[in-house]
Amino acid sequence: MDRLILRKSDVQAFLESFLADYRVVAPRHIAGSDFVFDDYRPGQEVRFDFVNTLVPPKNLFFQARETLFQISGTVHPTILPKPSAKPLAVFGLRSCDASGLAFLERFFAQRGFEDDTVTARIRSSLRMVLSCHTPGDNCFCVCCDGGPALTSGFDLQLADLGNRLLAEVGSESGRAAVRRRPDLFSAATDADYSEKVRQLAAVDQTFNRRSYISSGMKRISLARLTEEFWQDCAADCRGCGGCCFVCPTCSCFSVTDKPDDEDHYRRERWRDACLYEGFTREASGHNPRARKAERLKRRFFHKLSYQYVELMGRHGCVGCGRCVTTCMGKLGIPDFLARVHDECK
């Protein structure tokens, strides 16, 4: 793997070299400790002092609402060509989110039904990952193979070494990215790499949260949890769907066809949540998961059962901790796993 050094003061120039060919996205400060991934504007300050965004960068690829295609004509309908869009160049992705994108890519390409909207965006994107040296209060990626740094699944991986970044090239796209401004990069030394390794070892000690993930997976997969346990969880769940919306690996959606005018129609897809009562309600009115407890059970089964590990190559949690932040019922993944652990003591 190529290892290079990029000075922080050169990051702006590096990002601006992509603007002609890419839609460049970088973290932007919005309020308090909140950041979002938003379009990078020339001259914008590049921030490295964020933990992570609460709005997951998956929404750049799997948008909260988007038009999948438009149809013209009712007698002889024609699908209109999609407007072309620049590929995404995302700077500052955290390791957990990059892992989530790999999961989403697999999900949207599985079983021969490839959704080219999401997969094309992911595959054409340039993913510049920023490994973590300060975990957030709710982060637990170390328990989930989600971080704080990656060994694959990125184009460039950057580690913060003070006023410099150690850049590791993880793909041919990453190599091509470096070639855009080779003057900004210099070769990294063994000492630089040792510094990164030392940092990561230190980071591992600073995580506040741990999760009982393997024992939880076992109990969920083997259906060792009682109906009463799920009822208790349902009593605390507010059914907001927030855990699904912030999760880097969640992919629930619904589609609808709607008219623009007499001759034009569009198919829209919007984010949905498996915790919503309407998500599995059938046209007849019958709902196979009418009770919240059943929906919760389904959600955690999808996230953590061996059956889905087999299907998706990994479990559905990357340890970003967003569900912990957003859940009002203390049912984020580590809190839920702690309940499972207590239940089965």
Binding site: A31, D34, L54, A235, G278, T326, G329
Partner: protein
Amino acid sequence: MGFQVTTCPGCACGCGVLLEEERGVLIAAYPVSSHPVSKGSLCIRGWNSVDSWRHPDRLTTPLVREDESLLAVSADEALERIFSPLKEAAPGSICFAVAPSTSNEDILAILRLAHYLRARVCGFDFSGVPTARRALTSVLGRHYCSSSLTVLQNAQLIWMFGADVDNYPQVASALTTAESNGAQVVSFDTFAEPDKKRRVQVFVPPEEFGLLPVLLQKCALERGYILPSVASRPGFGRLAAQYQDRSWLPSSSILREQRIRELVASFSTSPDSAVIIGDRWLTTGLRALEQTSQLLQALALLGVEDRLVIAAGEANSWGLADLLAPHESDSRILAGLLNGDTSDIAVLVTCGDDLLRSAPCPGNLEEALGLVGTVIVLDRFRNGLIPFADAVLPSVSFAEMDATVTNTFGMLQRWRQAVTPPGEARPERAWLGLIASRLGLKSWPGTPLEWWMTEEGASSPYDGSGVRLLYETNGRAEWLLREETNLTLVRPSGSLTSRTPEDRSVQAIFTRHPANWMTGAWSDRNEILRRESAEQVLGVSQPDLDEKGIKSGGRVRLVTQEGSAVFVARADGRLPQGLVSLAEVTGSREIPRSLLAGSEEGFSFQPVPCRLEKV
């Protein structure tokens, strides 16, 4: 792509919301982790708050009535139609009815125009907030309760009074946190929570809501649980003396004094205790204001007046109550209207929301609206008032304007514009400004901040420098109301229990419709509201259904002394035997007007003795 931080319009919690916009279209809403109330969470309404923005019933052009139908017209034509009735109406015969979803600046604009027209202004807030604010003012001498939810999160013992906290998810969240830290929760309510097994649930019949706080006071005084700081307060000695003679205290077969004594004892000895008062407490009972005042008095005697949370209200219920406080006497106009009395109203202007859907007895209101000379509607949607409207002016959503709203803790927060309003839609203050200009009122502020510099803004209870800071620095929300308690104790004025007829089999009470909170997207919610409304659903306890041989989903007739109505019965596990529940969305044209009781002191829904018959 763009993002804008604003405030959720879903309820009075006032959570921080981050709106995502793309090419002028709202895409999604997200929480804000650094927001002091929501701290990174939102409820189902907040997550789906952008769905109302794209609703198909959205109004985008002014409408005026021509030959029984409403026609889309230009703004000028609509204003021309409005001009004459407003100009010619006699002083006092114009009534502005303002929804609790209206922003503070829009309320200030309404007050300015109303003052110029010598019109009356009343808020149509049925959430119980006006009651709570009046009780807080009269007993504690302040307008708000605790300044944050931390009091709940850190509590070891929590009392809840008629609180359906699922409607106020941030309160529910704080409660969950407290419970997970080992807090004990005691719920005093007519409704049970079957899934909350850890909680102590004390059943209080709705007709005894007035009795419970008096018993709490009595037990607190008897057992000497009063804190020295409370005992030294003005009026305390007088109150204590009143309890020397206990003959006026009614006896209750259900609320046994011994049980209350035990509860008061454990509450008084708990180092960290807190209280939630919910909208069911504030709106149900014989006299909502009196029972709430007595409850606040009991809690003040127990020394927890600084650890109260009120779980009630819509987006700006508290701002509306603050700004309309000097106009409290005008609320009688609305009470009359709800009872079908339109004698005082020549022109009715409704602002911000659907008065019909909010009203407890929409049938009576529909009758009254048919008799009002001119009805002008300012709203975002084609609402239930449209068939009665002579002119309709399209207003804007929370994401389309700059303004402020006040949450249940007295926290003034910004609504920030994220997208441009569609078509002719504009903020209410902009429409009112156009009307004012035609009527000859010259002075009309432009920016939201300028509204706080007007006579109306300057006389509001808000700190002007705090408002300026909020706008000029684009800063974070500020706590603007820091209030000291000034306790005033009062004895109940009347009988504490209702007389129930011998042949009573059940009592009917109003409640909020669960579809508001249990569905996902807005469109889903409306679909369910329509279906439920069409079916006229009546919640009935399983024992009552079994006793009458009625299946859930079967039809039942609810018979009162004054009339009857047929409903679809639905088993409701939260209801005790002997109580049936009408959701407020249910059309209740055949239900007698006596359901709306106590209009002099706010809106309390008196439980009505009924008989239930299988159809």
